[in-house]
Symmetry: C2
Subunit: 220 residues, 2 copies
């Protein structure tokens, strides 16, 4: 599996995978990805900066050139899957990826349960149609908070946005992921949640979602 972090202003993959401080290296004409947990190969602008405080202050054409070059020069090896993490929006990053990669299997949309988020993510439908990319499915994040002391469920960011989005973009709702404070904890520590808390409800949902995505790709 490869992960291409296409968020140049806010690259979050190096920290969440525990790869802070690592650098890419170049072999001849090729960029060698950084290897993360479970052998995941990662490319991120974060690996090209001296440290985490440095900002990449780039206008669109520079971002486009970076994405184009990084994708072309990376020696991924034999990948089963390449995941591309995009920043929010329908701008340079999204356009460049959609226009550059011809065999793109599709988009995964992530929304919060509220209407404000749902309406904005739903704009991806027009984008996907215009660029002829399939929407594979919808993931609703931060669906609810289950109080660890009482077991009571609180819909702190609204309710139903994932299902509504799935309906609007005509794709399946693949998962509703509840809030678990340990997700933030593991992301900050750079440990994959599913390895740290394999028996948690969230890990179960994440692994089931991965299975669903694999099945979707194999059947298409």
């Amino acid at each position: 599996v490869g992960v291409f972090d296409a968020d140049v202003h806010g690259p979050s993959i190096p920290r969440t995978l525990g790869l802070i401080g690592l650098q890419l290296y170049v072999k001849g004409e090729n960029i060698i990805p950084v290897e993360g947990p479970l052998g995941v190969k990662v490319i991120s602008v974060g690996f090209m900066l001296p440290d985490e405080t440095v900002a990449v202050i780039w206008r669109g054409p520079l971002k486009t050139a970076y994405i184009r070059q990084a994708l072309a020069m990376t020696e991924w090896g034999n990948l089963d899957y390449l995941l591309i993490d995009l920043p929010p929006g329908t701008g340079d990053e999204q356009l460049t990826i959609a226009q550059l990669i011809s065999g793109l299997d599709g988009l995964l949309l992530v929304t919060l349960p509220n209407l404000l988020s749902e309406k904005i993510v739903a704009k991806a439908k027009v984008f996907a149609e215009r660029l002829n990319v399939k929407i594979l499915g919808v993931i609703e994040n931060m669906s609810y908070f289950k109080c660890p002391d009482t077991g009571k469920i609180y819909y702190i960011f609204g309710k139903g946005g994932g299902l509504k989005l799935a309906d609007e973009v005509e794709a399946p709702l693949l998962a509703s992921i509840p809030i678990d404070p340990r997700i933030t904890e593991t992301m900050d520590k750079g440990k994959p949640f599913v390895l740290e808390y394999p028996n948690s409800e969230v890990s179960k949902i994440i692994l089931e979602t991965a299975d669903k995505i694999i099945k979707l790709l194999e059947s298409s």
Copy 2:
């Protein structure tokens, strides 16, 4: 007060202020802002689209041209304050605003309490220095969830990011805003939270923060 929504891909101001379906109108060479609750004047790309489902699929140069033109053509009238809502990042939108508006009073940084978010927002320091803009202060959002049934506080997105960010960018922490499910509810309904729930803890914090910002601006 004027609000310029500089997020062209995900304009959230029209919905949060209850202005969905309204359009800007042009008088001669000028754009007349839409008037929202309490007389706030609003410009958003959302007012130029036929409906909320339409995506603005623009690369950087188009976004720059839009921001430049919208700011130049808008007849704001006599404003005390102009707030500019920026999307995440340090790209075209941020650069255009910083380079275009010479008398910019400063930046307000909004972070979550977790380290991942804090590290990314801290990149604004380099941006602010490079462009000679002051960082006025830091607002930590989604600081904690106070269980309405037991009163117990849960730090569901980590703890301390706001203070850490304030320290790193050498600006005051202006507020730590707790999670209140009614915030999402009022945003989706397009009602200002402080008018709907004036006696809530969050309203008190928001109004105190506004006072702090006004004082900061008056003393600078």
